[in-house]
Symmetry: C2
Subunit: 351 residues, 2 copies
Amino acid sequence: MKLAIVLIGYGNVARRFVTLLDESRDAFRARGVEPVIAGVATGRHGRVFEVAGLDTARVDPALAAGDAGEPASVPFLASALDRLRIEADHVFKARVVIETTPLDVRLGQPAIAHVRAAFAGGAHVITANKGPVAIAYRALAAEARAAGVSFLFEGAVMDGVPVFNLVRETLPGCTVTGFRGVVNSTTNFLITAMERGEPFAPALKRMQDAGVAEADPSLDVDGWDAAAKGAALANVLLDADVTPQMVEREGISAETASRAVATLKDGRRLKLVASGQGRGAGARVRVALEDLPADDPLAIVDGQANALEIDTWPMGRLVITQRDGGMEKTAYALVTDLLTVARRLRNGSAE
Amino acid sequence: MKLAIVLIGYGNVARRFVTLLDESRDAFRARGVEPVIAGVATGRHGRVFEVAGLDTARVDPALAAGDAGEPASVPFLASALDRLRIEADHVFKARVVIETTPLDVRLGQPAIAHVRAAFAGGAHVITANKGPVAIAYRALAAEARAAGVSFLFEGAVMDGVPVFNLVRETLPGCTVTGFRGVVNSTTNFLITAMERGEPFAPALKRMQDAGVAEADPSLDVDGWDAAAKGAALANVLLDADVTPQMVEREGISAETASRAVATLKDGRRLKLVASGQGRGAGARVRVALEDLPADDPLAIVDGQANALEIDTWPMGRLVITQRDGGMEKTAYALVTDLLTVARRLRNGSAE
C-alpha cells in the first residue's frame, strides 16, 4: 500500500527520518508498504509539495529557492491534504502527517493546530513533539477516534525507545500505577559535571558549544522539558488529564552543585526525576531532584542515556533504559509509528 | 470469540494462569475473547477433559480422584484436540495448548513432543518451557507456519517481561546484533551471598529451604538454565540455530566465593552473564562469569531481578530490567501470548 506523507518541520530529526525510510526499505517491503513523501513544510524556509511525490534529494534546493511569502503551515497542510484526497485518493491508501516542530511548553502551538488540521483532512498523525500529548492528549485522542485515524507519538519521550509502545503492544491487560524516569539529558549531563566539581555555568557553556544544550537552556534547566515528558507519560499511561503547568516542578541551578557533590560523597547519586503516581483524576505528577541509592536503575544513567521505571499490576516494576541517545533514535520512532499505521490499515482495526 | 484451552503441566505457573485469566477478564472482554479451559494434564496426577469446558474450581479434586492408568500426555493431547475439533468446532474459534512442563535441557522432552502434537492437532502453542525454543526453535517455527498456527513463548526467558515481544512488537525493522543478560536468579542470589562473605554450601542450602533453588541445583549452578535461555534468545533474536549444548558454558561453585569478594572489593560486581554476538550461522553464545563496572545495568541486578541488554541497529543498546521476579509474572506471560493469539485470529494475519 502507498502512504502519502506530509512532513511538518524539517529539522535534523525529519531529515534523518527521510534517509532512514530508505535504509529501512526491507522492513517496509516485507509489509507491502510504500511511503511517499508528498509535502515538506518548514518554519522559515518555505514549503514544497507534489501530489505525485517529491524527489527527496531535491527537497533542500527547492526549499532554498522557496518563496517566503508562502502560506503558513496550517493552511499549507489543509491544502496539501485536500489535494491529495481529491487528486490522488486512488493512489494512496492513506495520508500521514509527520509533525516534528519544536516544543512550545505553554500552549503546544502550532503543533496542536497541525494535529487538528491533519485530523480535519482525514490524515493519521505521527509526532515527535511532546506538546500535543503533554497538553491536550485526552481531547486529541478522542478527536482521532472520531475521525477514524491514528495519533501516535513514540518519539516524544526517550527518543525512539519503546515507552508508549511497550505498554500498548507488549503489556496488554497490565495496569500502570506509577512511573519515574530520568528523561532529560541536558540536566543529567550538568548534574554529572557538577558531581565532578565543575561549576554550573562553564558546564552549561561546554554543553551549548557541543550542541547538547540549547542557546536558551531554560526549557531544560528549569525542568520544563521533564515536566512536559512527565505530563505526556501521565496522560497516556496513567489516564491523567494534566498539562506541564500542573506538574510540581523543580529545576537545577548553580546551587545544585554542592548538593550533587555531597550526594556523591555519600555514595548516592543526585538525579532530576520525573514521576507520576495514581491514576485518572488522582494522578500526581512531579519533577524533582532526588538522592538515589547507587544501585537504583535510574542512578546509573549518565550522559545521553535515559531510563524509565513503570510500576504495574501484575508485572511489578519494569525498567527500560536507553544507553545510546540521539536524534537518529527519534527518527526511528517515526518509522515504527508509520509501520503501526500501516499495520492498523491492513488489519482494519485499531490494533 | 471462544478459545478452547488445554493445559499440559499444572504446577504453580499454570494454576496462577487460571486465576489470572479471571482477574484479567476486563482485558479479554474488551477484545471479545472468552478463554475456556477444556483440558488439564499433569505428569503424575492424571488428566481431566470436558469438551464443553471444565469447572476450574473442580479441577484439583478431579485430578486427585484421577486414574493413574490414564494415557500419557501426548496421546491425551492428541485425543483432546481431536474431540474438540470433531465435537466443538462450531463453538471454538481456535484451540490453544499451554505447555508448562519442567525443562529438560538435554532433549527438551516431552515438551517438544507436546508442541508437535499440538501443531498436528491444529492448535496454537504457548509455552513457558524454554526447552522447545532453546533446542528446536527453527524447526518448530517452520512447522507452526506450515500448520498456520502461532508458536509463542514469552514466559521462557525473564518470566513475563517482554523480551521476545519487545523486539517483535515494538522494534519493527530493528536488527538485533547482540545481547547480554543476567537471567538466572539462583546463581545471582548465590553470588550476592558470597560477595557478603557467606560460603557457597550454606547459601545454597538457605535458598533451597526458601524454595528459590531446586533440590537438585545443578541446572542452575552449572549454568545450564542460563545456557538454555541464551540459546533461546540467540535462536529468536539473532536468527541462530544453536542448542544449550553448543553454548560455551561456565557455572558457579565454592571457588567462586573468593573471586566474588575480590571483585566487590575492587568496586565491581561479579555476575553470571549469558550473551550472544553476531547473527545466523555466525552467532556465538556463551555463559560466563564477568566482572562488571558497578554502574553497568547488569551489575545492579540483585535478588530475583533480571536484566537483558540488546544491541540493535539503529536504536543502539536498550536494557529491559525486571525488578520484581516470580511465578505470577510467568503466568502473565501466558496471558499476553493468549491475547496475541486472539489478535492474530481477529486480524487473520500473523501480526
